[in-house]
């Protein structure tokens, strides 16, 4: 203290307790003022929004809450609702889902064989784990490579050796590539890698499978394609389409950016053609026209034809997405790859594609979501899709003739769960792979 005379001076030795902020500046009220009622326009918007939510809930909730889960037929459902909630009450009849859910999931797949699609689904999750999550050991990718053959065997049945010889073809190809590269350079390696598996499949695979089958028969009951339906069908078409269209789409996008005019224009023509026509016309083609262009006397399974068309369709879209990613790469990356002396494929594999694909992830995933949703269109070529095909089949039975909303809500929610999950995952991936520091 410098001035001792000012004894009466008041010096506070303890801090005053902190005053709470005014009521309008704290807690819920502050939050509401800032986020809901910050101005006349916002107030109106908030009120309108809340009113809309209220009206929708008021209309739909009683119907949802009056739902009946166990009944044998629609009439029984209606009787239960009337009995429980009084005359004129309206309610959802979820019993149709409860009764018929195997059909929605598996179509007409034999019920004693349900374990096969189930197992295939679980294996699929295992197979895509190393692709989705970096933490899973890399060796798992081998299983991923083998998965298509395994799934094919599980779903369609028949002899296991068929799947084995198909896989053996790939293994032969890889061995041929390694040997060829060591002995005779790139040309021999690639040539052998293509030729040997093709020869194997065309000439030896059948007899090898037959011989192995005779030695150790390991068969599953053959299931015809017409038994496929519901979400099983949507998944088979969707996953095949996704799996095959990605490599094809990358090749197409590279072709479109190729220096060779012929390849470039063919790719451009193909991509623009596919993108220019609606999927329905391609499905019609699969259903009506494809058989005209095959050797006389062969006819393809309809599901297979649809998968081919869906794959081509989605490949064209993916090609465009990847092209966008390629275009977004700075030229320096290409020049750096050239400066390092990498050849075209090495440059693509090591430098260009990892970056381009990273940029295109959101686009690729949304293409996949689109493809998965588009599997519902197969109803137009009379395949039993989960949304309408199975629903129509269910409604054609006299017990459930007249059910309308419930099946749609059910399959709509399942589609929502998967598509929403995929889009969330792509956002996660985008964040994870974001390596620039902006």
């Amino acid at each position: 203290m410098t001035d001792a005379n000012t004894a009466t001076a008041f010096v506070r030795t303890a801090m005053l307790p902190q005053q709470p902020p005014p009521i309008s500046q704290r807690g819920v009220i502050k939050w509401m003022r800032e986020n809901l009622f910050s101005g006349p326009l916002n107030t109106v918007l908030t009120l309108v929004g809340l009113a809309a939510v209220f009206m929708i809930l008021q209309g739909v909730l009683p119907w949802l809450l009056h739902g009946v889960w166990t009944a044998k037929s629609l009439n029984e459902c209606r009787a239960i609702i009337t009995k429980t909630w009084g005359d004129g009450a309206d309610g959802a009849c979820w019993a149709v889902i409860h009764e018929r859910w195997p059909q929605y999931i598996y179509g007409f797949y034999p019920s004693d064989q349900y374990w096969r699609p189930n197992l295939a689904f679980v294996l699929m999750l295992v197979a895509i784990a190393p692709i989705l999550f970096g933490a899973v050991p890399r060796q798992m990718l081998l299983f991923t490579a083998a998965f298509p053959a395994v799934a094919f065997w599980l779903l369609w049945g028949g002899s296991v050796w068929l799947a084995v010889v198909i896989l053996a073809g790939f293994a032969l190809g890889v061995i041929a590539l390694k040997l060829g590269l060591r002995l005779g350079g790139a040309i021999l390696g690639v040539g052998a890698a293509v030729l040997i598996p093709v020869l194997w499949w065309l000439f030896f695979a059948g007899s090898a499978a037959g011989a192995l089958d005779a030695l150790a028969p390991l068969d599953l009951v053959r299931v015809q394609s017409d038994k496929f339906g519901g979400f099983l069908l949507a998944f088979v078409i969707g996953i095949c389409g996704i799996g095959f269209s990605l490599p094809l789409g990358i090749l197409l996008s590279l072709g479109r950016r190729s220096d060779m005019p012929l390849i470039k224009y063919v790719c451009v023509g193909f991509i623009e053609f596919i993108r220019g026509v609606p999927l329905i016309t391609l499905l019609f083609t699969a259903s009506f026209l494809l058989s005209y262009f095959l050797p006389p006397g062969t006819t393809f399974d309809l599901i297979l034809r649809v998968i081919i068309m869906v794959t081509l369709f989605s490949a064209a879209y993916i090609a465009e997405v990847v092209r966008g990613g390629l275009a977004a790469l700075p030229r320096g990356q290409y020049e750096a790859a050239d400066a390092l002396g990498l050849d075209y494929w090495k440059a693509q594999r090591l430098i260009i594609m990892p970056q381009a694909l990273k940029i295109s992830i959101p686009g690729i995933v949304s293409s996949f979501i689109g493809l998965f949703k588009d599997t519902t269109l197969v109803i137009f070529v009379s395949l039993l899709d989960p949304l309408k095909g199975i629903t129509d089949a269910v409604r054609a039975s006299s017990e459930w003739n007249g059910v309308y909303w419930e099946p749609y809500i059910f399959s709509g929610s399942i589609f929502f769960i998967f598509c929403f999950g995929m889009s969330r995952y792509s956002q996660y991936l985008e964040r994870k792979l974001k390596t620039d520091h902006r």
Binding site: W201, F244, A393, N401
Partner: protein, 338 residues
């Protein structure tokens, strides 16, 4: 690369079937399964049940043919077809036989190169309206909004009918039963038109069927018949005579209950010829003696099939009408087996 491999794999798997070999009969026999095109889902005619088992009037034809040719009524692959896909499925060889309530018309028979194997159901297009609309005749429908189920000859008949009677109407073309029904029940159309059998099936599924009436007018002839590709007469004959066997069986009182009894031999030579106890008619088109016996045993004779799927005792409740035996005043008349 991946894709071609997949194709190759499936080729081996036999998903890519070959049908050019020889006749349809040989091919069906070699395959061991009859590919039969049916409706995607029409109550009473063809619809899968909860276990994926197909039942219905049209399905019974598939079963009878499979029983006659392959000896087992269950060796059938049912291929659901829409109005658009049915004819191409048949001409491209995807199916061997189309049993999908299709009307026998000149252009389909001649221009599209199909062979209709004989009418198994005589139908006609009609109208259904709400009872409280107070309409008692189709002639009072001038200015009405009419729901049409597309995919048959329905649109053309409707246009012709209203033109003849100098009336106007607003068509609403509906793709499937379910949507049409929902529209009709909500009152979005005054009348619903399709084949009268379809109307009956539809009405059977209503909450209050009695609130709706089917108007008396029949505005078209709809002879529904199974069909096969033109150019394979042997196969067409097999389908045609399988149907005839079912019709004849009803006429001579062969039922699924007494067929074993009758197959031991009866005093009626016609029955004996049908059931193969006398002569060998089946050999004439490449089948064995008992083909017709198996066809009839599959789901009974024509009358039994009718009663079990769409008859008066079913919710659909169709009377025999034109589809009764000729002896009962109907049009079902099987040519003699000799």
């Amino acid at each position: 690369m991946n894709r071609t491999v997949f194709l190759g794999a499936l080729t081996v798997a036999g998903l890519v079937a070959s049908f050019a070999s020889a006749s349809t009969l040989d091919e069906v026999k070699a395959r061991g399964v009859l590919n039969c095109g049916v409706n995607v889902g029409l109550v009473g005619f063809a619809a899968p049940d909860a276990n994926g088992k197909w039942t219905g009037f049209d399905v019974a034809i598939c079963k009878a043919v499979a029983a006659a040719v392959l000896g087992d009524p269950n060796k059938v692959k049912y291929v659901p077809t829409t109005g658009e896909t049915r004819f191409t499925s048949l001409s491209s060889g995807e199916i061997d036989l189309l049993a999908r309530n299709s009307t026998w018309t000149f252009s389909r028979d001649v221009d599209l190169k199909f062979t209709f194997t004989g009418v198994n159901y005589y139908d006609g297009q009609g109208f259904m309206v709400r009872k409280d609309l107070g309409v008692t005749s189709a002639k009072e429908l001038g200015g009405a909004t009419i729901c049409i189920q597309t995919g048959t000859t329905t649109e053309l008949n409707l246009a012709d009918y209203f033109k003849t009677h100098k009336m106007t109407y607003t068509p609403i073309a509906i793709k499937t039963d379910a949507e049409g029904k929902q529209q009709f029940l909500a009152g979005a159309c005054d009348a619903y038109t399709t084949d009268r059998s379809g109307l009956a099936a539809l009405r059977a599924g209503f909450e209050k069927p009695d609130d709706y009436v089917i108007l008396p007018e029949v505005i078209s002839k709809e002879p529904l018949s199974p069909l096969v590709r033109q150019g394979d007469d042997q196969w067409a004959d097999i389908v045609r005579w399988t149907e005839n066997a079912l019709i004849a069986a009803e006429e001579y009182g062969i039922t699924s209950a007494n067929i074993e009894e009758m197959a031991k031999g009866t005093t009626n030579p016609e029955i004996n010829r049908i059931l193969g106890t006398e002569g060998n008619l089946g050999a004439m088109f490449g089948l064995d003696k008992e083909w017709a016996k198996r066809a009839i045993a599959a789901s009974g004779n024509y009358g039994e099939i009718f009663e079990a799927n769409i008859g008066v005792s079913t919710p659909i409740g169709l009377a025999r009408g034109l589809n009764a035996q000729w002896t009962q005043g109907g049009l079902m008349y099987a040519p003699p087996f000799r």
